[in-house]
Symmetry: C2
Subunit: 300 residues, 2 copies
């Protein structure tokens, strides 16, 4: 299959990136960063998570962030919601769309949200129904699709079963997450061939982590499998707390750089992404770990 | 084209990695590191460069390193030689094989060795002839094949012309180098399709730098193009002096990890590579920049 002309990048840095930060980034810094991202040509930004602040204190200001950002026409501002309670708060803040999430591994699911897969499905079903009846589109995240930190291998049939269920609920797209960055190109190719033989790739997105450096290689495989939507976090934010660079999301800037060099459009402006990168580096007081930001620093 | 069952990794860390280090690594540390690498299952190690120490002071002890290492049967110990003078010293030290190098860009060539491409060819021709008449195999490096820091684009026809000339001289393999890490997967695929339509891919190797994070993605493309020999430097040594990680060789350990996960054999033992990685981290007093070493540190 040929590469597509255009790829949609979904920026998850303000949610998936910041949720792992140990220190609380002040609300005005979050707002200003999202405003910077809005000017970078990205047209989808997941801005926060409406989850109990007991679980993710770093995003306790979800409502304030969602209501204080400047919304740029043409940009979709999404937020993660774990359940009805989160959805209600997200609706109050009037986000453009919401995302629900679950795991493809029972053990990971129980450790993460204290529910099994089959206990989670009805919770999400209710949430998706309610969101849609209020006119909101809903995205789904399915994590650990290429491997679980507790169980190791994850069943491809189980990934299919859950993806089918999420789509049946009314989710418009399922973002398949390599949560711990263990998927290798052969596995990703084999899995995607399996999954896309039963599910239209237009309903799938890929969410890679670059833990072992394979995210861009896996992106090539995803493109060849006909998947045209990719999640990224600016500068590879979302790293493991134990080691710099050890488990962040694939860096949006590295992803955009590669795609543009390949002649694939994303709509993003790399120099504006770098500007947003420098802003968050300063706000967090540490350098971002992406190759693109490192190359820029080397040239300065 | 399907992936191969086996890939040959050529470790260039002791030469291409260490030549960029600012502080002089003591000879006994170099020797001990190479001895560690010899026990990792790698069967090709480029140990040093017999170049005027005025140009690369970090490798001024090339003769001592070559004569003091413990040579493990089955491992090929190679050294870079720029000309007849370097070759003579390398022959005295009885390295197993030698490598000659040149650039595919005239400006890079002049800045690097003060000779144009066409001035370099006869120098290498003489060196290759002499080495082969003494029974030594000779490898060729061609740098900047996917882009030049001074000229930008590099002509694919010029790469072919020089590669042909090197093979005609008697070089058994040309390692095509993405010296500044700018090659993208579409460019690499297009270029390799062009080059392998005229040159048997068995005579080609790929030498990627991970400056912009695309080295493993480009490796996938190389494998699909039928190229089965890849250069790497343990831990991604060989970085730019200005910024951590900004222009190192692709990390041997990340390359081996991905290949093994893909079911492709290399003969290398990752735990022994990690041991050699920890040794050189301690000797240099800094952490290595590869994903594999970072994952190991995160788990410790």
């Amino acid at each position: 299959m040929a590469y597509p002309d255009h790829v949609l990048i979904k920026e998850v840095g303000p949610r998936d990136g910041l949720q792992n930060e140990k220190s609380f980034l002040p609300t005005e810094k979050k707002v200003e960063w999202i405003n910077e991202l809005s000017e970078s040509g990205l047209n989808y930004i997941e801005i926060t998570s409406f989850v109990n602040p007991k679980w993710i204190p770093a995003l306790a200001d979800c409502y304030e962030v969602a209501t204080q950002i400047k919304r740029k026409p043409g940009v979709t501002y999404a937020a993660l919601v774990p359940n009805m309670k989160g959805l209600e708060k997200a609706m109050e803040a009037d986000v453009d769309e919401v995302a629900v999430f679950m795991s493809a591994s029972d053990t990971h699911s129980k450790k993460n949200i204290n529910k099994t897969i089959d206990e989670t499905l009805p919770v999400l079903s209710e949430t998706v129904r309610e969101a849609r009846s209020a006119g909101k589109k809903v995205r789904g995240y399915l994590s650990t699709v290429f491997g679980c930190p507790y169980e190791g291998d994850v069943s491809g049939e189980e990934v299919l079963r859950i993806t089918d269920r999420l789509l049946e609920m009314g989710v418009y797209e399922v973002s398949l997450g390599d949560t711990i960055g263990v998927g290798n190109p052969v596995q990703v190719e084999t899995s995607l061939n399996h999954w896309t033989s039963r599910i239209n790739p237009e309903y799938l997105a890929l969410h890679f982590h670059n833990t072992r450096g394979m995210a861009l290689a896996n992106t090539l495989v995803g493109l060849k499998a006909g998947i045209h939507t990719y999640d990224g976090a600016l500068g590879g934010l979302g790293g493991c707390p134990y080691a710099k660079g050890a488990s962040g999301n694939v860096a949006t800037d590295d992803l955009v750089y590669m795609l543009h060099e390949m002649g694939i459009q994303t709509g993003a402006d790399l120099s504006r992404l770098a500007q947003a990168g420098r802003f968050i580096e300063e706000a967090l007081g540490k350098p971002l770990d992406s190759h693109y930001m490192e190359v820029i620093r080397a040239g300065e």
